[in-house]
Symmetry: C2
Subunit: 347 residues, 2 copies
Amino acid sequence: MGLTIALDAMGGDGAPDIVVRGADLARTRHPDVAFRFYGDGARVQALLDHYPKLHAISHVHHTDVVISGEDKPSIALRKGRGSSMWLAIDAVKQGMAEGVVSAGNTGALMAMAKLALRTLPGITRPAIATVLPTSVSECVMLDLGANIQCDDRNLVEFAIMGEVFARTVLGLPKPTIGLLNVGEEDLKGHEAIRQAAAILREIDLPIQFQGFVEGDAVWAGAADVVVTDGFTGNVALKTAEGIAKMYSGFMRTAFRSSLAARLGYLLARGALNKVRMKVDPRRYNGAMLLGLNGIVIKSHGGTDSFGFANAIGVAVDMVNGGFTDLITAEFEHLGRFGAPVQKVASS
Amino acid sequence: MGLTIALDAMGGDGAPDIVVRGADLARTRHPDVAFRFYGDGARVQALLDHYPKLHAISHVHHTDVVISGEDKPSIALRKGRGSSMWLAIDAVKQGMAEGVVSAGNTGALMAMAKLALRTLPGITRPAIATVLPTSVSECVMLDLGANIQCDDRNLVEFAIMGEVFARTVLGLPKPTIGLLNVGEEDLKGHEAIRQAAAILREIDLPIQFQGFVEGDAVWAGAADVVVTDGFTGNVALKTAEGIAKMYSGFMRTAFRSSLAARLGYLLARGALNKVRMKVDPRRYNGAMLLGLNGIVIKSHGGTDSFGFANAIGVAVDMVNGGFTDLITAEFEHLGRFGAPVQKVASS
């Protein structure tokens, strides 16, 4: 038996069904993984009865307490100690699981994970990251909403975490890093971003800092790791989702608008399905809460079992890639990057 | 003769050709408009010789000085007093034209326009706005990059300017206003945005404040006017462009990937062209520099004559809609919104 992933069986719109079905799908892809389910024991057991192979590698821990999608992080922390989300995170803390996946409330998950697992030494604030498709390949973007306002230090930490993620999980030997900005020139943007760029140019790590990248260049594949504050990252990610949805809607209407267009769709369907697969949000499901002393993955709340299985896959890849150890080593090497920050500040 | 539009004949990648050809196209749409061209007199005259009807309603003012795309605003201000851009703006100041269109450097255009025309009374900072397509209709978004950091007051001013624009140019009787944020709940976002929301809820103007809108909701048509700071707006706009380009590229590849797909494309081409037209960036060309004592329109530097004609159309619509007078009246009514700001601050 390899590793164990803890699952918040009650998080997300389709819980616990999609969680159990997603785990069964993930099992076929990662045969060395076992699962610990936290949630409504009777419902989870009833579902597991349909998946005997999954049942054989699963442990179910019952709780009645569930964090709702609307609960504020503060409320979740107060009432949520015995909740499925808390217990799943706690399994990582107790060493009973190597990673946790939840499709529940993001704010509550981050708050609980910070409290239970703590941030790694040298990291001021954890960030939410995700992998996104680009015209040429894919990229990691962070932060996507954990930190609404960020200083230079936060941005530099995000850059380092994103770089290690791209190496360990995406398997890129020398990932390039870009800071999201309104122009490529040195003078563009606000103070925090310019200062972060200055630190990244000087930092004592073998990272490939690309400089500033603009919102359109991200999707052309300008950098493997795109670093930004949580406000901008959240808006950029949701804008991308919104535009994709708008286009799909327009295309759907177009293909239904005439008999010729319907026929055309039927003929091109195979090729169009490949495009759909390439940008399928379920394929990119599984946002990483980086910077914590443990692997925590947030699945989209509205995903299906295919998407949830992908989120589990991200957790497995991060565990197998030794993400936490590598991040810890980088920040130890930097000595909490006192040195490079001072270097820039005094120049 | 109705009104006159001043044109920076030397701004943009295709100048002066696309400027002259764009003006000729605009002439057919707006028969009551005359033009003043500023730039290389010999080249503009030679082009005008091909368009006798345009020639008849055009005045050409020669200058050798051109602001380049790379010139920083400060440099442009210093060396650019006799430039085609400056002279075109100055024509508005001198009352020789009702509006100006340039496809040149945005930073230089804003700096020169602020210096020559001044901001309107009550407005702290001008903003860049544009009209964008949504799933259901279109929306105005601002600021798109003129103001990297914004306080609550700036955001409220943008909201009022965007609202007047939507009424006068888009012809919406009661446009809704949304503040771009990372969530819809009152507690989301940073201080400036929450405070701006509080002011907009209390303000003594009959505006339809919708609350916060998220990045994806913008494209679903959640608000007619989307207000944000220039950093976020710029990233959102460029993200939208980048995603659209990525999708188009994927579709193009898909339609070429097999004989069936090629045939399918041929059959569906008519319907797909309608989608392309709907989202054609040239149709949305013409960013408005709002808050100035005059109508100033920035055309995309890489557009063609069709796009440039649309930018001229935006200027004509703003002049005909009485935009500047209406904005001035709104801010006079608010008394530089001392009252509503204090109301919120003391509550």
